[in-house]
Symmetry: C2
Subunit: 142 residues, 2 copies
DNA sequence: GTTGGAATGTAATATTATAACATATCAAAC
DNA sequence: GTTTGATATGTTATAATATTACATTCCAAC
């Protein structure tokens, strides 16, 4: 990792060139992006970039808590600072918008219940599909 | 759909040949299967079967409530009769075993909270990764 | 028996993700 | 300052998952 390549991002972490580049793309998006969406947005300035570079950066960013993966969309988005722990994604299947909400209390209940069966939870996935208020009011794709 | 091809499955539903075949494979498995796992198990007796056939059958079976998709595994398993509504999957990342538990109360809380933001929930995805009691006791892959 | 709609067959391709191995970079030990 | 070892990155190829598009078949309704 080149010293000159390191980049501050405002979260107290230092990122490599690649990681910072992927994070910049995700941060500037207004919704979830697939790994190949990210790839396509980087390619103009860096035509030889390949999938493993993006996936490695995503791994780093997810491990660092800057980015979250949405399993049911195979997509990635910036972690919402207001939901630093367990999160629930509210996914609008009409417009594609995704909101993040803290799910700490609900997840705690779930993991506690599973713990009674001897199950040790490590990573909860809570994603709710539906229709956001705006789309519901507009009645698009009814 | 050939009348002779219809098949009872004990759930009060009538399935086409294809759907029954896919369901039989899933029912006889002791864990989640990918669509291509299913394909591979059907192929010996039906070498020309292709992915769309399996995916169509999965769509039907999921719509009928007989099978569930596990988003974070890209895999499918028989719906547990004891969790007919909203379900939480407890996924052991060591041994791959998946258990289903009713998540009705927790999901109700979630959707109610999201509803206060105007979001109308249609399909909740609740999947918890971790380590099952057996693996935890055995300490494999610690 | 004709017609119209749903299901299925089939080939091709799109999308998402990883394997495998080479190369580069840098810090720490010597 | 060079060796070493660990981490990161580059590169090619391929694996794994899923869908599109269109042809064909099948059956029910008329």
């Amino acid at each position: 990792m080149n010293i000159m390549a390191d980049s501050r991002n405002g979260t107290g972490q230092t990122l490599s060139d690649n990681d910072a580049m992927v994070f910049a793309v995700i941060r500037s998006a207004n919704g979830p992006l697939s790994a190949y969406d990210i790839l396509d947005r980087i390619k103009p300035g860096r035509p030889r970039i390949a999938p493993p570079t993006v996936y490695r950066a995503l791994d780093h960013l997810i491990a660092g808590g800057l980015v979250r993966r949405i399993e049911s969309l195979n997509a990635y988005m910036k972690a919402d600072d207001r939901a630093p722990g367990s999160v629930v994604f509210a996914i609008c299947d009409d417009c594609g918008r995704v909101q993040q909400r803290d799910a700490g209390a609900d997840v705690a209940r779930l993991t506690k219940a599973l713990g009674r069966d001897g199950f040790r939870s490590t990573h909860p996935v809570v994603e709710v599909h539906g229709r956001c208020g705006d789309c519901d009011a507009a009645g698009g794709k009814p």
